[in-house]
Structure formats: C-alpha cells, structure tokens
Symmetry: C2
Subunit: 455 residues, 2 copies
C-alpha cells in the first residue's frame, strides 16, 4: 500500500477507501469516459477538517487530488486515475442555515440539488440552477462546473446564484470569499472565479446560495411540432425576439425524439419532425402561453397545450429522458456548445452540414430559451473515434464563429481541453494558467483537467 495512503489512513481512518469497487467508481463520470486506471484511494470527507487534512497530505507529498460530488459530470472533470486521490464531498450534505428574510441558504457541497430544493420549498424558497441532472447531481458539482439547466434564460446561471464560498486551498488552508449581503465589491470577485473552475483552484466546502421565492401561480406547458429542426429553431428564436419570456423552452430534433419515444415505448413521432416544449410560469402563465402558442403557430408549428399536470409531466419526462435514451444506443459524447439565441437556426444549419459531411447522425437537444445545444455523438467502445472528434471539432468552430462557446454548462474537463486555446486565444490562456499557478503552485488540484500539460 502506498505511503500516501498510509498518511491518509493515519489522519482519516476508515474514511479512506481503497476497495476496488470505490476506486473503479471514481474512474468515471456520466460522460461515458473513464481514466486509464484506478486511483490511489477515495477519501469520503465528512467535515471541512477532513478536506483540509487530505489537502495537506496531498500538498506535502505532491499527490494529485480530484474532487468529486455525485460523479454526474459530462466532461470527465472528476475522473480519477493512477496516482490520484479522489476526494469525495458527497457525504457533506447538510443545510447549515436557511434565511428566508435574507433569501439565502448556507449548505455543504455534497447535497443533491433536488434534495436542497425539496427542503427549501418548505420555506417557500428555491435555488434556481436546475441542470437536467438535478435529481442526482450535487450543489458543489453544479458550482464547480457552472452547471446551467433549463431555466437560465429567465432565472439566471450559477454565477448569479452564489453569494459566498468557503474554499480549502491546495495546501489545506481555509478561506472564505464573498459575503452574505446582496452587494459587495471588496477586491476581486473570487466567488465568481471559483464557479466553473472544475476543481483546479480549490475545494468548495461550503456555499452561501442566493435564493428566490417560489414563483406564485401555476405553470403551463405546450408543445409545438415542426416539419424540420430548422423551422423549430427559427420559431424558438422568434419567441425570444418577441419579448415574451418562457420559463423553459426546449427543442428536440427528430433523431432525439425518435430515440426517447422508443425508450419510453411511446408511438413513433412523425419522421423528420422536431418539437419545442415550452413552460410558462407565474401570475401571467396562461397569457404568456397563449402568446407563445400564437407565435409558434404563425411560425408553422402545430401547437398542443398540455391539458393537465399529468400531460405536462409526460412532456417533460420525454425531454429529460434524452440522456438515458442515448446511453442505451452506445457510448455517448454529449456536446454542449452555446450560441446567441438569434443564431440557433444557423447553428442547426451547421449541424446538418456536419452530419452530411461526416455521414454521422447527431441527435441534438437544445435549451432553446438560452441558445445552449447538446449535440450527441453515439459510438461503440470506450474511446471517441477520430472521425467523431473531427466532427466535434467542426461543431466547436461553428459555435465560436457564431459568437458562442465550446461549453455552455458542462465544463472543459478532459474532453474539451484540446479546444481551449481556440476559444480563449493564447494570451488569455496564459493568464488563466497564471491564475491556476497562483492558487495551486504545486499542481496538485485536478492536474490535466481543463488545461493540458502542453497548452
């Protein structure tokens, strides 16, 4: 057994797990990709002190640490390989404080997003970030990746929903960044810097979350079916341009719809047809729904209003079943490009072009309310084939040309490192590496993630 494991055991006892099952589990996330081999150990941290002890030992011995929540990432950011410690925060899942009068909660990072929101609902409150994985992903993971979700256009992204963080540094010291007040501009905004930093700058061990009050009134759901995906994308862009604000507006292309209908044993959809599913909420849910229905009809859609909550729930189940439907078909590379909303039709043109050129089918769902697309590549075996990477490369370049980004909400992890410089440019990349070196001079925090050694 390694000397590092001995040191961890001496301080952390049976929180140090070296069972093959635990090590195997820590190799992968939900991206379908895994590390080249088992890590040294999984530390199941129960307290901030456990995290500090782990980081002290890691720093002293130069051992890489990969922070993990529930392992639901989609970019390989938490995959733990040979010579690395997996530091699991999943067990640190308490809500430490809820303040309805200040619209904030203080939580540990391991709490599941859905579990947090169930408990907040008792206070009439919620935390807006709602990644599709919300039932199974942790708040800490949401913060580490800057996970977005379906509600971002109306209710904001993670950066808008975090006031303060407690962070254990690479050498085990604990700092607090941010504040409990709505406003605060003392020094650089390290809270925002930590959000989306994917375990490369420090370990988030506590978060002060900015909450919203539950939206009063009902929600309404509709679907609109279009002859093809471009028509659906154009219709979605026209909703945004009109000024009416859906809470959620999701697009599924024909291949996605077909796969999900098959998974759920629903009747096969019209061939080639794409679908928008739109939720409105608040006091004017019905009026907004009527306005959107009119816009979508004018754009050539066949609109159906969900008759009741049960039908609405089925419609959302269809959307939320995309990931399991893809997983059933093979190994999936889920891409995550994001573009300005007016560019959605052009982005779907680019996807069609890439499909034609590569001979691949690229089932795509899209958070059409905010312009974030998830094109899926499905293949056999654990490795992304070169021709798939070549098609993904085309996809990334198209998104950047349209003023968008490689990743809207999944992060860079290992899967998009190669394209980091394409988006940032060499000058910005050097600054980002400089920041990394300030926080982690010894390079023990998730090395090889986000940045490659060669960048």
């Amino acid at each position: 057994m390694s000397a590092v494991v001995d040191l961890l055991r001496a301080e952390l006892g049976d929180r140090v797990d070296i069972t093959p099952a635990a090590l195997e589990d820590a190799r992968a996330d939900k991206s379908g990709h895994r590390s080249t081999g088992a890590g040294l150990a999984v530390v199941h941290a129960a307290t901030v002190a456990d995290v500090q002890a782990t980081m002290r030992i890691a720093s002293a011995t130069g051992t890489p640490v990969v922070v993990r929540g529930a392992g639901t990432g989609l970019a390989g950011g938490a995959n733990t390989g040979p010579g690395e410690i997996a530091l699991s925060l999943r067990g640190m899942d308490r809500i430490l404080d809820v303040r309805p009068d200040d619209l904030l909660a203080v939580v540990e990072p391991g709490i599941l997003n859905a579990s947090l929101n169930t408990q907040l609902a008792e206070h009439g409150l919620w935390w807006a970030p709602d990644p599709a994985s919300r039932e199974i992903s942790t708040v800490g993971g949401n913060i580490a990746t800057g996970a977005g979700g379906l509600l971002c256009a109306k209710y904001g992204v993670v950066r808008d929903a975090v006031l303060a963080l407690d962070v254990v540094l690479a050498d085990g010291r604990l700092i607090s960044v941010g504040h409990r007040s709505v406003k605060g501009v003392t020094g650089y905004d390290l809270t925002a810097l930590m959000i989306g930093s994917e375990g490369t700058l420090g370990v988030v061990v506590g978060a002060t979350l900015k909450l919203r009050r539950l939206v009063p009134g009902e929600t309404r759901t509709l679907t609109a079916t279009f002859a093809d995906v471009r028509a659906a994308a154009r219709a979605a862009a026209s909703v945004t341009a009109s000024g009416v604000q859906p809470a959620i507006m999701e697009l599924m292309d024909a291949a996605s719809l077909a796969a999900v209908h098959d998974l759920l044993s629903l009747p096969a959809p019209e061939p080639g047809a794409a679908q928008l599913t739109v939720q409105t909420d608040g006091a004017d849910a019905a009026a907004a729904q009527a306005e959107i229905a009119e816009l979508l009809t004018a754009a050539g859609g066949t609109v159906r209003l969900a008759a009741d909550d049960a039908e609405a729930a089925l419609l959302w189940r269809i959307r939320r079943s995309m990931h399991p439907a893809m997983e059933r078909l093979g190994t999936t590379l889920i891409e995550d490009v994001s573009v300005p909303r007016s560019a959605l039709p052009r982005m779907f043109d680019e996807i069609a072009r890439i499909e034609a050129a590569s001979g691949l089918t690229i089932p795509t769902v899209c958070h059409a309310g905010d312009g974030n697309l998830h094109p899926n590549f499905v293949f056999d075996g654990p490795e992304v084939p070169a021709h798939v990477w070549a098609a993904a490369d085309e996809l990334f370049r198209a998104a950047l040309r349209l003023g968008g980004t490689l990743t809207g909400e999944h992060g860079i992890g290992i899967l998009k490192r190669r394209w980091l410089a394409d988006e940032l440019g060499d000058d910005q990349l050097a600054l980002q590496r400089g920041i990394k070196a300030v926080f982690d001079p010894a390079g023990v925090l998730n090395p090889g993630k986000v940045f490659t050694a060669a960048d």
Copy 2:
C-alpha cells in the same frame, strides 16, 4: 516635458493633454479627495488602438496608468497623481451593436449610463445597473467599480449584467473574455474577475451587456415616515421578509432628510423622523404597493401614496439629492457598507452607538431593498480627520461582524485600502495580490489603488 510625454505625443498627437486644467481635473473624483499633485498627462483615447499605444508606452517606461471615465467615483480609484498617466476613455462612447433578439448590446466604455439607457429605450430595452450617478457616470466606470444602485435587489448587480469584455492588457495586447451567449463556462470567468477590479488588471475597452426588456406597466411610489431610523429599518426588513418585491426601497435618516429638504427649500421634516421611499413596478405595481403600504403601516409608519408621477418624481428627487446636500456642508466621506437585509436594524444600532461614542452626526441613506448603507461623514478641509477615520473603522468592523462588507458598490480605491485585509484575511489577500501580479507584473495599472504597497 518628460520623455514619457514625448513618446505619447509621438504616437497620439493632440490626444495627449498636459494643460494644467486637465491635469488638475484628473487629480480628483467625486469622493472629495485628490491626489498629492498633478499627473504627467491626460490621454483622451478615441480608439482601442490609442489605449494599446498608451499601455505599450507605459509598460516600456514603467509609467503608472490610471484609467478614468467621467470621474464620478467615490473611493479615489481614478485619482491621478505625480508621475502617472490619466487614460481617459470618456471619448469612447459609441454603441456598436444592439441586438433585441439576443438581449444584448456592445458598447464602448465611455458612454454615460443614462445616455445608453435613453438609446436602448428606443428598442424597448434597458441595462439594469442604475447607480445614483447614472446621469453622469460611464458604463465603463460602472463595470470597473461594480457600481450597484437602487434596483439591485430586484434586477441584479453589475456582475449579472455583463456577458463579455474586450480588455487591453498592461503591455498593450488586446484580449476578449466571455461570449455573446447566455451560458458559457470555458475556463475561468475572467469577465467576472474584471468587474470591480478598479483598473488594476486591465483596461476595459468594450463591453457586451446583458439587457432586459423594459418592464411593462406603470411604476408606483409611496413614502412612509417613522418616528426613528430603527423603526424604518425594521419596517424595510419586514418588507423583504414578507416576500413582496419592491423595485426600489430607499431609507433616509433624519439628518439626511433635513439636509436635503434644506437644499431643495422644502418645509423642514419632523425632527427625528426617518423615511422610506418605495417604488413598485410591472403588471402588479398597484397590488404590490398596496401590500407594502399595509406592511409599513403595521410597522408603525405613516404612509403616503404618491398621487401622480409629478409627486413621485419629487420624492425621488429628494433621495437623489443626498450627495449635493452633503457636498454643500463640507468635504464628505461617503461610506458604503453592506449587510444582510435582516441585519439593517442592528446596523443602524451600531451607527447610533458610533455617533454617541464619537460625538459625530453620521447622516445615512440606505438602499434598504438590498442592505447597502451610505453613512456620510462631513468635515472641513481636504483630509479625513483621524477621529473620522476612527469612527469609520468602527463602522467597517460592525458591518463585517454582521456578515457584510466594507463596500457594496463604490470599491476600495484609496480610501478603504487600510481595511482590505480585515475583510479578506491575509490568505485571500495574498491570492488577490497574486492575481494582480499575473495581469500586471510591472505594476503599471493603477498602482496604490485597492492594494497598498505594505499590505
């Protein structure tokens, strides 16, 4: 004439201004404080290339550069002193793009906040940050300080309203950070890092702003008068806790009210009385106003609903006249502490305690909707007397004890440098200094601001 000015002149010609009036003007902002003497030159940049040329010369010669907008800062952050170049971006004031379909605008930094919003209104759009100085302050300055304003509780802070920035680095290179899409998590969030960095990391030469649609419906205004400031603060906290969301909720204490009424030649207010002024907006403006009126009455307030827009305008003029009213009394040190909203009554207790202990009167206005207080110290002459700093020191410590911050929206500048470590702690301060060194290894970007040489 200095060699640096010769170099600037050779590249920038008559954009280099060394007239005594210009140099004198660049010594001060609206804090009432000024640098120890005149700077080298004011560069009136007209283009990004001008900014790049200035920074190249500054870097090559080791000359400090102080970036300025309209000079409305309140912390001395843009004050330019001996040996320094003032780099004015005020002349770069174009709107480069407005995209109603993507809810964004691309602007140069020198545009005035109010001017931008006048032009955006033609498109049915607005940019939410609304510092009290909005008629005279630039968007670039708003971004550099993280300026907040009155609407933050309902409509967010600057960090929530900027998608991307173009930044000239210390050595003159130009980078772009962020993206035009709603979502994006590629690498560290340098957009957020730049916001509030007070000219110490780079020069913002372009901003992609996240816009909102103009809120449909009317606005409604009311005032409520309370026997004392604590009662008013308690009432404001009860409004936040109730869940009804004002657009604006402002508090003025007795000394502030008296000074403004005197300035505007209005009848003197009731001695000791404090006042809340509350605006509601949107489709439910009237209903929200009625609910707030009921809460404030129950909290002991005497409520008056503004009969019409003219009366509402007068009420807001009273609030917005605070700064001129104070300026008339002497040199003003305007503090800017921010606390969680539930702590407002306790913060006013602390102010009363500090007033009693110091023998000072501390007229205070407060963005009660978000917990940001502006206690004013008024004195004679250009220097803050020691006993005023001692009282301010007590104020800062009280805000930090309550979970708040030194500065909600004005920044650190020169006036709060001494307390930076008190809020951040030494470990975080060292990281912030490390980031500064990554961006500005030669120390030419606003040296001596935010950080002291000795921190």
